[in-house]
Amino acid sequence: MEFLQPATWAEALQLKAVHPQAVPIQGGTDVMVELNFDRHRPEFLLDLSRVGELAQWAPENGHIRLGAGVTYARILTELSDRLPGLAMASRTVGSPQIRNRGTVGGNLGAASPAGDAHPALLAAFAQVEVESVSGLRQIPVAEFYTGVKRNALSPDELIKAVLITPPTGPQQFCKIGTRNAMVISVAAFGLALHPDRKAVGTGIGSAAPTPRRALEAERFLAQSLTDDGLWEFRGALPDATSRRFADLVADAASPIDDVRGTARYRVHSLSVMARRALIWAWNDFRRV
């Protein structure tokens, strides 16, 4: 196994072009586990931890450019106000050690249905910026996940950043685990209200082959809020609306039974989380 250690982004792209089979490694919290278990024996490891710009974030044209190598710990301490949904998700990732190393870029690279960043990114309508020697492109995060642990990257591409618009409304993230900390999600739900465009964003984790949005639920809620004039008046949310929303979120899932939980429980818990998250978000919305 050869260990490639580019010092710059350009060099990293070059190396990836020459060795498309090279496995990128950022925090290593997924890659090293795979190596330890001998699930993969990559010919090349491409270490991105020296590429300084990946570990940076900055506001840019109305959104936040979050470098692929920014850790969960930093999102929590530096971006809780600007990326609240993602910060809530970050807070649930692993343990302090894992949050100190693990990154959103790595979560996207792994593209596990259980990755905790995904529901938050989906709900926030984030874009994934990827690049290769032949060019840069931005992929809406919902299109980024293509299958179980598969993503839209071409073999020569690397994830550069995630672009997220700071919220115009409340965001929530909830995750079920069978212990009270340091647990892989059994089901997760992200919610963002976008009052600026009268839209609702959702993200479902661990309840389908890929992270996914609950599109019907989003449309239903956005429409109901519009129909009832609630975006403007911020009145009480009808019980029927939150219930219907919760049902539609649950309908959007297609989970399986596995060692972490049953499909039925996943569907059930999603509906509970969706309803609670909506009520919390709505109460926040009414308060501001």
């Binding site: 079920i176 212990r179 009270n180 647990v183 999600s185 060692v259 939980g261 049953t262």
Partner: protein, 787 residues
């Protein structure tokens, strides 16, 4: 310069000056290095020239081996040896109680993960790759995965109370072992065979398979000695029982097989059976090189026995006032593919199976069965844990049926000193069952959750699943007891060698036992006892090895009792000799002399000199084999007899907040009252109670090895969850000290009782919060939500 005599990381003598004796909490000699990460665990050992051993394991729970082809593996560069059962020098089988487990599979594999072949190579990775080139041709069979079916017992329905007869037919048909699938049937019969009662409650209960989840994986280093023997440095619980089994497998005498305890990272029963011991020795003897073996985390789940899963059916009968009239119970323990300590676990589950209550009429049938599930054996609580979930649930059910307070019901029926256990054994030392419960009741309940509770105080924690919605509080009590030491006629003893001498002008004691320090603090206790008995400061704990007689197992909550007893007895002998020598030298009467603070003190004249000066060059060295009072095998038809040397009692009250819509549980409080006879080291006692309670909490709400078709589905700490600091509440603990007149210092074993009573208290609290019957542990979210 002298050549290094042992591997790097092999244990050296521990020598801190104890600052206090029995009853105080001096700093552990291994504490600071452990906290600083400097303590060498067995997996840290290293030796010039060593090579690595790796195990090939069966991917099938049940299969016949048609052939094993090792040619390709052997041909790989860097590979020194590939061994199969054909290379086992002598006995191909081993076992703690029943010799039934192959060192390496002979012609059949009976569980997923059973060792089939060994490779030694100059790098662990090469060895691992080489195991993949070993070709094993399996004829795969349908596994037997249900203990009752393995015994040919019919399934249950609540109508019939009689245990099913063992069907000879199905035994023959499905026998996994020549004697059939029944490992042991413990029958307990006391009082009337057909008792009647006004109020009767029944229930079926199930306990999942728990893992010890020790953090230090199985590991050791075998070093050939050049004279055809081998020295093994290994993390274990009982050096001498390992030695016995290794000698049998290797065909070597005990002098040729020397064991030294390497740094142990937890045990909890999981190191009572052999793991890599014989394998590493075989490879070392075969290659003439030191061989190190370390299981990785996943392999560790296959490398040791687990807690027996259980299915149980109980029936309790009482009069209207709540006095128990009878208990009937059937307990099925799934022993998995090999016996391990199943017979003793069945013995405990049966004899201790109805809890610390006075019951005139008892019928218990406890069975241990062979199946193709992973082998099960010793784990903290040893048979009592499983039964307690059932009998304590029954007590709550009965209380509800009677409209009685569950604590009142328990107190009304509580075992007392002088009363009879179900075995007919008269309890001949304090049994403060009622007091434990009353004291628990008196501990203040935690405050109600406030409306703006921190997420970390809510079910689900920072995963942000509730801000109080759906959360219900529940309270549950449980009390349990555990036999301390080995039971049923086992000659349970420990050996201590104690040496007293003056070293650099200071009286110094060396304590040498083979009793395993697995993290519980025995080394500290050994120092404390020596200090108290001999009045010295400096006590060196010699590395634990087989150069001294057996210390018995570090299990059954027994080491402070039995090895502590041995150290005490050896110290007494040493003291007697020292005082005699000093009397001869000084002319004082022995009866007038005592040892304290490094001085020899005469009652009449005060200090007559330092012990070091008065000892001069004399070295006093005594070895004592100390046996606890004998027990007897129980009657095979009635289970009656003086089966247990000592009982230890604990009680818990759990307070839980349950998110009833999501099925998530937060244990808010888990308070404990335990009688320890004498707290030899109060801080260690509290540590044992906290740790034991956490392990019980784990089984109650999360810990389970999931098995499907005989295969382990979650062999990792990603999916085998153990409690974190956010799952385990701070505890309020009351320690009682009612001396047991039969035990050294009056002490009682401490380590296991809290593991037994904490889980049932938590499940009771969840039942209280949800109103659900919850008959299976661990309680999973979907059991609460019904989805």
């Amino acid at each position: 310069m002298t050549a290094p005599t042992g591997p790097a990381g092999a244990p050296r003598g521990l020598s801190t000056q104890v600052t206090a004796g029995v009853g105080s909490s001096p700093r552990r000699p291994d504490g600071t290095p452990k906290v600083k990460g400097e303590f060498a665990y067995s997996s840290d050992m290293w030796m010039e020239d060593m090579i690595w051993g790796v195990t090939l394991r069966s991917p099938h729970p049940y299969a016949r081996i048609r052939s094993i082809d090792i040619g390709a593996a052997l041909a790989m560069p860097g590979v020194y040896a590939v061994l199969t059962h054909e290379d086992v020098p002598c006995s191909k089988f081993y076992g703690l109680e029943i010799v039934d487990q192959p060192v390496l599979a002979v012609d059949t594999v009976r569980y997923h993960g059973e060792p089939v072949a060994l490779v030694a190579a100059d790098h662990p990775e090469i060895a691992r790759q080489a195991t993949k080139s070993i070709r094993v041709d399996y004829d795969v069979y349908e596994p037997i995965t249900d203990a009752r079916l393995a015994l040919g017992h019919p399934g249950w329905n609540q109508v019939h109370n009689a245990p099913g007869a063992v069907s000879e037919l199905s035994r023959e048909r499905a026998a996994l072992h020549p004697q059939g699938n029944l490992v042991r049937h413990l029958k307990l019969r006391k009082g009337h065979s057909d008792p009647v009662a006004d109020v009767v409650v029944g229930g079926e209960y199930e306990v999942g398979m728990q893992d010890q989840a020790f953090l230090g994986p199985e590991s050791g280093l075998a070093v050939p000695t050049g004279d055809g023997g081998v020295e093994l440095y290994v993390a274990t619980q009982w050096l001498h029982v390992d030695q016995r089994q290794i000698c049998a497998a290797l065909g070597l005498s005990p002098e040729k097989v020397r064991l030294t305890l390497a740094g142990v990272g937890g045990a909890f029963g999981g190191r009572e059976d052999l793991s890599m011991h014989v394998h590493a020795c075989m490879l070392a003897l075969h290659t003439g090189k030191p061989v190190k073996m370390v299981y990785n985390r996943e392999e560790s789940f296959f490398g040791h026995v687990h807690r027996h899963p259980a299915v149980m059916r109980f029936e309790h009968g009482a009069d209207r006032a709540g006095t128990l009239i009878y208990v009937k119970a059937e307990i099925y323990l799934d022993g998995g593919a090999y016996a391990s300590s199943t017979p003793a676990v069945v013995g405990n589950a049966g004899t201790m199976g109805i809890g610390p209550y006075i019951v005139p009429n008892v019928q218990v049938d406890a069975y241990g069965a062979y199946t193709n599930n992973p082998p099960c054996g010793a784990m903290r609580g040893f048979g009592s844990v499983q039964a307690a979930f059932a009998y304590e649930a029954q007590m709550d059910k009965l209380a509800a049926e009677l409209g009685m307070d569950p604590v009142e019901l328990r107190c009304r029926n509580a075992l007392t000193e002088g009363s009879q256990a179900p075995t007919g054994q008269v309890i001949d030392s304090p049994a403060p069952v009622e007091e434990l419960l009353r004291r628990l009741q008196a501990i203040q309940l935690p405050p109600q959750r406030n409306a703006d509770a921190d997420l970390r105080d809510l079910p689900g924690g920072v995963a942000n699943t509730t801000h109080g919605e759906g959360v219900m509080r529940g309270v549950g009590y449980a009390v349990a007891y555990k036999n301390v030491g080995f039971s049923e006629g086992f000659d349970d003893y420990s050996t201590a060698r104690v040496r007293l001498e003056a070293v650099a002008g200071e009286a110094t004691v060396t304590v040498h036992t083979a009793a395993a320090e697995v993290g519980q603090g025995l080394v500290t206790v050994e120092q404390q006892i020596a200090r108290t008995e001999l009045g010295v400061h400096a006590v060196v704990v010699h590395p634990k090895d087989t150069q001294v007689g057996s210390g018995g197992s570090t299990s059954a909550s027994r080491q402070t009792y039995v090895t502590g007893g041995a150290v005490k007895a050896a110290c007494e002998k040493v003291r007697e000799r020292a005082l005699k020598a000093i009397r001869q030298r000084t002319g004082h009467a022995t009866a007038d002399l005592r040892l304290d603070s490094g001085k020899v003190i005469s009652e009449r004249e005060g200090v007559i000199g330092t012990l070091a000066d008065l000892l001069g060059d004399e070295v006093i060295d005594e070895t004592v084999e100390w046996h606890h009072r004998p027990t007897v095998a129980v009657d095979p038809e009635t289970g009656q007899g003086f089966a247990h040397v000592q009982y230890a009692f604990s009680a818990h009250r759990a307070v839980v907040d349950v998110d009833t819509e999501l099925g998530l549980v937060k244990v808010v409080a888990l308070d404990c009252v335990q009688d320890v006879g004498k707290a030899v080291n109060p801080q260690a006692v509290v540590g044992q109670i906290q740790g034991g309670s956490a392990q019980g909490l784990g089984l109650a709400v999360m810990e389970e090895i999931l098995i499907s078709g005989g295969k382990i589905k979650n062999p990792s700490f990603t999916d085998y969850l153990i409690p974190t600091i956010l799952d385990m509440p701070p505890m309020r603990i009351e320690v009682l000290e009612y001396a047991d007149p039969h035990a050294p210092y009056g002490l009682r074993g401490v380590g296991e009782p809290p593991t037994i009573s904490s889980g049932p208290a938590i499940v009771a609290a969840i039942r209280d919060a949800t109103g659900l019957p919850l008959q299976r542990v661990p309680v999973r979210p979907e059991h609460i939500t019904g989805t």
